[in-house]
């Protein structure tokens, strides 16, 4: 890893740049962190990939039974409810899982932070990267499901990776804030899973945005995850998408990721002293 020939170590204060150049210099470390996480995850759990797919599959079955059969929720289009809800579960699990993992990533890597220098941003970043791989594996589940229910994707499916990326950026942004707050305030990690759980029902995962009454729909559109989930399903199933929520999601993701990165950089100098 190339480092400047001369290194100046001085106290710094206040805001500082994200230093993408240094992050780029350490890209191999970022890649290795993600690789390690994946390797360990798939080695420890005997059934590896099957587990990653099994979880959304079971959730889909339960949600279909509960929300479709019992609560009579519909997909709002001609897409069968199980496929519809699977699309929602996959993207939601990816984003909320990444938020949780990035949020806890620093605490999990405290033994590294106190022993060796590297750009601290590599830790939350690698958490999201490894989650994208998990998501890609879980998303394979869509293929047999869509064939079974006869849902043919249109050309929009080519846009789905961009939606996933948007979800990843948003998760990283929120995760960065949580990770940094987590170091100083240990109760943050207790609240986050609860918030995420509640947030899922406030997001059009088990229902389409169009199923909401007018006044609640406006409110739901303020939820930055609405745009991501709706857009992801739109790219898969060719369902109509509202541009407003999607634009808001993009704006929100950008704000939260840049704000998060700057806040993270601002407080990271204290990490080693606090941990």
């Amino acid at each position: 890893m190339t480092q400047a020939r001369t290194l100046f170590i001085r106290p710094t204060s206040g805001w500082r740049s994200i230093d993408l150049a240094e992050l780029w210099a350490y890209r191999e470390l970022l890649y290795i962190f993600a690789w390690r996480d994946l390797k360990v995850r798939y080695r420890q759990t005997l059934l590896g990939a099957i587990w990653v797919m099994g979880q959304p599959l079971v959730t889909m079955l339960i949600f279909t039974l509960l929300f479709n059969r019992v609560a009579k929720l519909r997909s709002g289009t001609d897409v069968p409810y199980p496929v519809f809800v699977l699309g929602g579960i996959l993207i939601w699990n990816f984003v909320s899982g990444s938020i949780g993992k990035t949020g806890n990533s620093l605490l999990g890597a405290s033994y590294l932070i106190s022993k060796v220098y590297f750009p601290r941003l590599a830790i939350p970043l690698s958490a999201v990267v490894s989650d994208i791989v998990d998501f890609a594996i879980a998303a394979l589940l869509l293929i047999p499901m869509m064939i079974w229910y006869g849902v043919t994707p249109g050309p929009e499916i080519l846009l789905s990776p961009f939606v996933v990326l948007l979800g990843g950026v948003m998760a990283l942004g929120i995760g960065l804030w949580i990770a940094a707050l987590n170091i100083e305030y240990r109760d943050v990690r207790v609240v986050i899973p609860w918030i995420l759980q509640v947030a899922m029902y406030a997001t059009p995962v088990v229902y389409p945005l169009s199923a909401l009454p007018e006044r609640y729909r406006k409110l739901a559109m303020l939820n930055p995850m609405s745009g991501v989930v709706e857009a992801f399903r739109a790219t898969l199933f060719g369902t109509p998408v509202l541009i407003g929520p999607l634009v808001w999601s993009i704006v929100f993701a950008m704000l939260v990721v840049f704000g998060g990165a700057f806040y993270f950089r601002r407080v990271e100098r204290r990490f080693a002293d606090i941990l």
């Binding site: 890893m1 480092q3 020939r5 001369t6 290194l7 100046f8 170590i9 001085r10 106290p11 710094t12 191999e28 470390l29 290795i32 390690r36 390797k39 360990v40 080695r43 420890q44 033994y111 590294l112 932070i113 106190s114 022993k115 060796v116 220098y117 590297f118 707050l181 100083e184 305030y185 240990r186 109760d187 943050v188 100098r269 080693a272 002293d273 606090i274």
Partner: protein, 416 residues
Amino acid sequence: MSTPSVVIDNVSKRFRIGAMRPDYATLRERIAGAFRFRKEDPETREIWALRDVSFQIEQGEALGLIGHNGAGKSTLLKILSRITEPTSGEAILHGRVASLLEVGTGFHPELTGRENIFLNGAILGMTRAEIRKNFDAIVAFAEIEKFLDTPVKRYSSGMYVRLAFAVAAHLTPEILLIDEVLAVGDIEFQRRCLGRMNEVARSGRTVVFVSHNLASIETLCRKAVLLAGGRVVEYGPAQEVIVRYLAARTATARMDLSAVERDGEGKARILSVELFDRDATAAIDVVEFRRPFRVRIGYEVHERLPNASFGLALLGRDGSRLFLSETYEVGRVFDLETGPASIDVAVVNPNVLPGVYHLELWISDAPGVSWTDHVRMVGNIEVVVGADTSRSIATLTSGMRGPMFVDTEWSAPRVR
């Protein structure tokens, strides 16, 4: 050869003690606190781990950093490694820096030896190309060819350390910072590591080396810096600094009580705490792993205590109690007259792993109810791996273990 490779200029580092008490560090309390009147937390104290440290290291020089526990050696290495920032001052390092503050940083037990070489190498700052280039040499140095594809959790502790050191030994930075890593592994391996580090120093690289093993500092380093209380007290040829250090050793075996957490009503006060070997024949400043030691508590009684009991607990770095012992529990209660006195407590089997520990001490007049005097987080007792430890206890310092080391006997039940 007279260009300085490392310039340390008035570096100071302040820590706040008490501000991070775990019960305070919740967002809920912080938010609640914002609505109260601003009140300084009385428990917050500042400690200067380093104070105006200045010295230079020439290029290609090996410098030993010695000093008692809490003298600031590790803090200085952490600043030079960019793990933590100085509070003031500046350090300039010319060249690529690698630091080795621990053997096997980031090793993952589930991954194989091969995978860990790449992981650890990357964490220490090597590129994949560099690791690949040195891969065979690393494996040969560690002597683990046969177990390359075995998860390291199945490694013996000796193999684990050999592998970890082998990766580090193949770092090729211009400046290498090393903290007490040779204290692991068997003697033969230690000798090989020393040889390897000698090579590194000879090849024109700058080495900063912290160790309790004065013999290895003497062989490896031409110059040394002696730190005490965060300040440089001696800088010069290694031998002279070591002599000075040894002379000062007994004088400072007494622990500093000026900044500890203290409470209690104060009918008696703990005034001094000193560390001795088991038979109180010599004052010590580090405790060898599994070697008994003695704590001498000097105190003064201001008001007669007819029913006094003494207590001691060993605390981990985070302040958690590892064990405690109280005199009244073993039926010893004292009738203390006013005036100064002292009491000894021998810790007979301190089965804690190498690391830094603190003491908690108290005098109680109503045992189990209240404290007459109570001090926490006293001293920095460093438990180190002794030179004569025959057992391969290399991984004792890895983060994978709990705090204790307990003798166990394994056997297969006899089949009848």
